[in-house]
């Protein structure tokens, strides 16, 4: 067993940390307040190769694997949940679907510019009536010669209004349902019939953009079918499996930042003539945070290691769901304790703690609610002992 990061991953972390502190952190409060996408940061991230970290270099990526990508998400989330969300939706699910299931031609045409950060990606699955029940999507794709004609709408799509390339899921055979009846498509924003709707106002991660998108007789070339025709649901699930590891890594970064800030504050805040760190009530909160963070770190990087070493079976899928559930809930507890330790200061907008508390809440909801993740975990566990859950 060896738990040390490779030399290249250690240097990558140092470089990303420096980038996050110098280029990302200074804008975090501003983009939250103004609900503004930090395009200038995305451009800088592209210049240093941070828009395609997990993908091989032959596809324009950094070639740092899932471990490298988790390092990115961890370090970015320490300073800005919104910026991390934009890059996460772009790399971790939008471009990831093309990497996992795209043909060589599709990878050359779409993945290369996405991984280089010349273009931005989004992942479009959720609909008004298809959230946790993702199989209930209603967007339709009908073949017309060498093209498919898409009709329908998607909601709450991260980067939906700013993406150049979208991975879109649509029903191609209603009779077959999710297994066999859904197909994934690569859609360019300039395709006729693609339209952006309302941009949402959110509680947290406000610097990231969340939008409604419409397909009105949107014509997509048949060569843009992603993966097997009719196997779109599998593409979606496979992509989301991978996305859950880095989501857990992001939660790890947010939790660590909450712990660091809570300790700094506990050291310097004097009450009753001594730092509040001298109080057992504070010490226990700190100890609980640190313990959960270490457990999460092990879970996240073990799962990332499984992916990088090709162990992507059902156990991997279970572990990825655990990364998402445990990560988001550790984060939830850590930011809550961090606010509590800061007292009134933690509630004021002058301190980043308040923003971190708001940013954290979405992680228990998006990319598959924690309730769905628990169902995935239990289903996989019982299947191993021969019981198929409903």
């Amino acid at each position: 067993m060896d738990f040390t990061f490779s030399k290249e991953h250690q240097l990558l972390r140092r470089m990303i940390r420096e980038f996050a502190q110098q280029e990302v952190a200074p804008l975090a409060a501003e983009i939250d307040l103004e609900e503004r996408v930090p395009f200038e940061t995305l451009k800088k991230a592209a210049q240093v190769g941070l828009m395609g970290v997990p993908f091989p270099q032959k596809y324009g990526g950094a070639g740092a694997g899932e471990i490298g990508y988790c390092i990115l998400m961890e370090e970015l989330n320490k300073v800005c949940g919104a910026t991390a969300t934009i890059i996460g939706a772009h790399t971790g699910i939008g471009a990831m679907a093309i990497y996992l299931d795209g043909t060589e031609e599709q990878k050359q045409k779409y993945l290369v510019p996405l991984a280089r950060g010349e273009k931005l990606a989004a992942f479009a699955l959720t609909e008004a009536n298809a959230g946790s029940d993702a199989a209930a999507i209603q967007t339709r794709a009908v073949r017309d010669g060498n093209e498919f004609v898409l009709n329908g709408s998607k909601i709450w799509i991260t980067n939906g209004d700013i993406a150049d390339v979208l991975t879109v899921f649509a029903v191609t055979d209603p009779a077959l349902g999710a297994r066999g009846g859904v197909t994934a498509f690569i859609v360019e924003r300039d395709f006729p019939g693609f339209r952006v709707g309302t941009k949402e106002t959110k509680m947290g991660i406000r610097g990231s953009s969340t939008a409604e998108i419409f397909f009105e007789d949107c014509r997509v070339p048949a060569e843009n079918v992603l993966g097997q025709f009719g196997a779109g649901f599998l593409t979606a699930m496979k992509t989301l499996d991978v996305g859950r590891i880095s989501l857990g890594a992001g939660c790890l970064g947010g939790s660590q930042a909450a712990l660091d800030m809570a300790m700094d504050f506990a050291k310097s805040r004097y009450q009753f003539g001594e730092p509040i760190a001298q109080k057992q009530a504070i010490q226990w909160m700190i100890a609980d945070m640190a313990t959960e963070i270490e457990a999460l770190r092990s879970l996240v990087y073990r799962t990332a290691w499984m992916m990088d070493s090709g162990q992507t079976g059902r156990e991997f899928s279970t572990m990825a769901a655990m990364c998402k559930v445990y990560g988001s809930e550790v984060l939830d507890r850590c930011v809550d304790k961090c606010v509590q330790i800061h007292g009134g200061m933690g509630y004021m907008k002058d301190y980043p703690v308040e923003r971190m508390y708001r940013d954290a809440r979405i992680t228990r909801i998006f990319e598959g609610t924690n309730e769905i993740q628990r169902q995935v975990i239990a289903t996989n566990l019982f299947r191993k002992v021969g019981l198929r859950l409903r």
Binding site: S6, K7, E8, L11, L12, R14, M15, I16, E18, F19, Q47, V48, G49, L50, V53, Q57, G61, A62, G63, A64, G68
Partner: protein, 261 residues
């Protein structure tokens, strides 16, 4: 243009903490980095290569772990990285270090420019650059915040305590670069992966530099460290609490007592 940049791996002093009980430095777990102003020298070299074309060679003397500093230089974009490492080089003072670097640079053959950081954050001597120029017998301009090259002449602005000085000299020359010169680029993510998985850091020992062991390492060092110690803490100052006129009188009499006036 063939540009050689000398770099040093140093402990990241931002990460050094004091032991609250003993008052000594905690060295354990302190990451090693490229000396900050050596990164400014690397940036200057890479920018120059972008403008004029050519080759940038990073060279460092140090223990085998200094390999990491050269990998980072590769990830920033240098063309070639050479680590001078040998037991015979160990214990070198600034002169023996400059001698070793100088011999290695002579082995490289022709070069146009040598860039070094102004000084290292661990030793703070600012001597190796100037000594290297002396060894190579080329002109040197130190404390450079800005420079340009035209018709094989380099024109550089030096930062002095009370102003700036502009000097001009012919190539080949050596410049020591200050942190005001530029903002060093980040190593890129793909560059980092390539630096470790595809590129090589050449390792040169005493044979490769064809050095005389008497002139290198501890043996070749005219200066030697006799003792290291922490300076005694400064005594706290005193504030004279009185009305301004009375405070001034007291201050003058104290200064007279100490023969300061």
């Amino acid at each position: 243009m063939r540009i050689v940049v000398t770099i040093k791996q140093v402990p990241d002093t931002n990460e050094v903490r004091l032991d609250p009980r003993t008052g000594t430095l905690i060295r354990e777990g302190v990451p090693s980095i490229i000396n900050p102003e050596d990164k400014n020298a690397l940036e200057a070299a890479l920018t120059l290569r972008e403008q004029l074309g050519g080759e940038v060679i990073a060279i460092s003397m140090g223990p085998p772990q200094a390999d990491d500093a050269l990998r980072e230089a590769l990830a920033m974009g240098v063309d070639r990285a050479i680590l001078l490492t040998d037991r015979a080089f160990a214990g070198a003072d600034t002169w023996a270090t400059a001698t070793t670097l100088g011999m290695a640079i002579q082995r490289l053959g022709q070069f146009d420019l040598v860039l070094a950081g102004r000084q290292a954050i661990d030793g703070d001597t600012a001597q190796v650059g100037p000594q290297l120029a002396e060894y190579l017998n080329i002109p040197q301009i130190t404390y450079v915040r800005e420079f340009a090259i035209q018709d094989r002449q380099v024109k550089a602005t030096r930062t002095l305590e009370d102003g700036f000085e502009v000097l001009e000299t012919a190539l080949p020359a050596l410049l020591t670069i200050t942190k005001e010169a530029n903002k060093p680029r980040y190593p890129t993510a793909p560059g980092i992966i390539r630096a470790y998985r595809e590129q090589t850091v050449e390792q040169w020992g005493i044979q490769e530099v064809q050095g005389d062991p008497e002139k290198l390492g501890l043996k070749g060092s005219p200066t030697q460290v006799k003792r290291s110690f922490s300076p005694p803490p400064k005594e706290p100052g005193e504030i004279i609490q009185a009305a301004p006129a009375e405070a001034a009188r007291q201050l003058i009499s104290r200064m007279k007592q100490r023969n300061l006036l």
